[in-house]
Amino acid sequence: MCGIVGLYLKNEQLRPQLGSLFQPMLEEMKSRGPDSAGVAIYRDAVAPHQIKYSLAHDQADYDWQLLGSELDNHCQCESSIRQIDSHAILVCDAPEQTVRNWLKQHRPGVRLVGSGSSLEIFKEVGLPEAVYSRFELSTAGGTHMIGHTRMATESAVTTAGSHPFATGADLCLVHNGSLSNHNRLREQLEKAGLEFQTENDSEVAAAYMTLKIREGMTLRQTLKQALIDLDGFYTFCVGTTNGFAVLRDPIACKHAVLAETDDWVAMATEYRAIATLPGSETANIWEPKPQTIYAWGELE
C-alpha cells in the first residue's frame, strides 16, 4: 500500500494556496497509509550564499535556539532557526559540510532530513491530517509539494522511517512499493560511505540516488540507472528544485495516475486524491507508462 501525491503549480496566482490545495490530496490517501505521513514543500528560496536545512528531533521541547547560537559560535557563521513542532528550519551561510560535521559531532540526536535552497521536509508518525496540522502546512504557500502516507511493510513505524527521504540538494523521494535488493544495495552504499538511519528500503533508494548525483550523474541519468540497479516494485515521485519527476518499475503494478491542466500538474496513487483540485474535471488524465521518466522542471 502507501499513497504518494505530488502537486506543481504552474499558475503563479495559485501558489499562495499551495498548502490548502495539497491538504485534501494527502488526506485522501489516508486509507492507503495511516501509519505516518510526510511532505516536502518548496518555498522561500534562501540567498545564494545560504543553505536551508530541515532538522528533526524526538524531544518535543528541544532547544533549537541554543543549537543555532552554538553553531554560529563554533563555525563563525550566521544562521537563523525556526522551530515548527518536532522539526526546525535552519538557514545558515556556512559551507554545507561544515554544518553537517558540526551537527554530527555536537548534536547526534538531531536528524538532518533535507537540505537545499527552497526544500523543507516535515514527517511524523500519525494520520496525515494530524501531521499536516502539526507543521502548519494548510496556510503555506510555495511552488510545489510532494507527500507520502505510509503503510509500513519493510521496516518499523518510526518518524525516521517516514517519507520523504532527501537525495541531494533540493532533491527528495517518496516511494510506493517494496524493493527486493535493498539489503545488498545498503551494504554496497555503506562501503561507499553513505550512512543510514533506518532499515527502510526506500531510504536505500534515496541513498542510491544521493550517491549517483554526488558522483556527477544528472537526475535523469540517475533515474535511468535506477531502472537497472533497483529490483522490486516502485512508483517514485522525486521532488526537484523546480518540479517533480515520476518513475515506475518495468512491471508497473504499483498504481499511479497523472493529471495536468494549464494551472497545475499533479500525480497520485489514485485519482481521488486529485479530484479536489480546481479544474480536475477537465484535466488531461493518464496512467504513466512503466520505466518511463515523466518530469516537470529541470532534470539535468
Partner: protein
Amino acid sequence: MPSIDLQETGLRALNTTLQSVEQKDAAYTITNPMGAHAIACGLTHEINVTIEGHAGFYCAGMNQRANVTVKGHAGVGLAENMMSGTVRVTGNASQSAGATAHGGLLIIEGDASSRCGISMKGIDIVVGGSVGHMSGFMAQAGNLVICGDAGEALGDSIYEAVIYVQGTVESLGADCEEKPMDEEHIKSLTGLLALSGINAKAEAFKRYGSARTLYNFQPDNAGDY
C-alpha cells in the same frame, strides 16, 4: 432522468439504488464521482447509467445487462468480470480494464493502460487509442480491438481470444502470433467498430491469436520445467 450526487448519497446507497431498479431503460446520471471506487458495480438490469466525471477503481464491475458510460477517466479494473451489457469510457482507462470479463462490450475511447483484457473470457473490448504492456495476457475468449498501438508482450500465453491491432505492436508475448485477416474477421471487426461508434476501417488491422504451442505438455520441453 434522476440525478444522484455521489458525495451526498454515498457509494453504498447509490449502488443499492442502481441495483434495485428493474424498469427497462431507466436512466440515471451520477454527479460528483470524485474518483470514488466501485461506482455502479453489480448492476443486473437493462438500465442506463451515466457518470459525469472521473471514476476510481473497479467501476462497473460484474456488470450484467446495464449500459454504463463514464464521461471522463476510469481507474484500475474497469468493468472487471463484466458478464453482459455495455460500458463506455470517453477518456483513458488505467490498468486491467475488462479483466476476466465473460461478455458484453467495453469501449475505451482513449488509451487503456497495461494488462487490458487480462484473462478475458468472452468480452469484446474496443480501445480507440493504445494499450500498455501485457494486454490480452492469458485471454481465453472474446475480441480485443486496439485502434492505436500495443505495448510489450501482447497476448502472452493467449488461448482463443482474438486480438486486432491497427497500429504497431511493441512485441508479442509467448505463443502469440500474427494470423491472416480472412473475410470472417473483416466482417466481425467491422461489426465491432460499428457497435462501438469508432471510425476505423477493418481492413487496416492485423489479427493476432494463439499459436497453440502451450496448450499441451511437450516432452521436448521437459528440461524447461
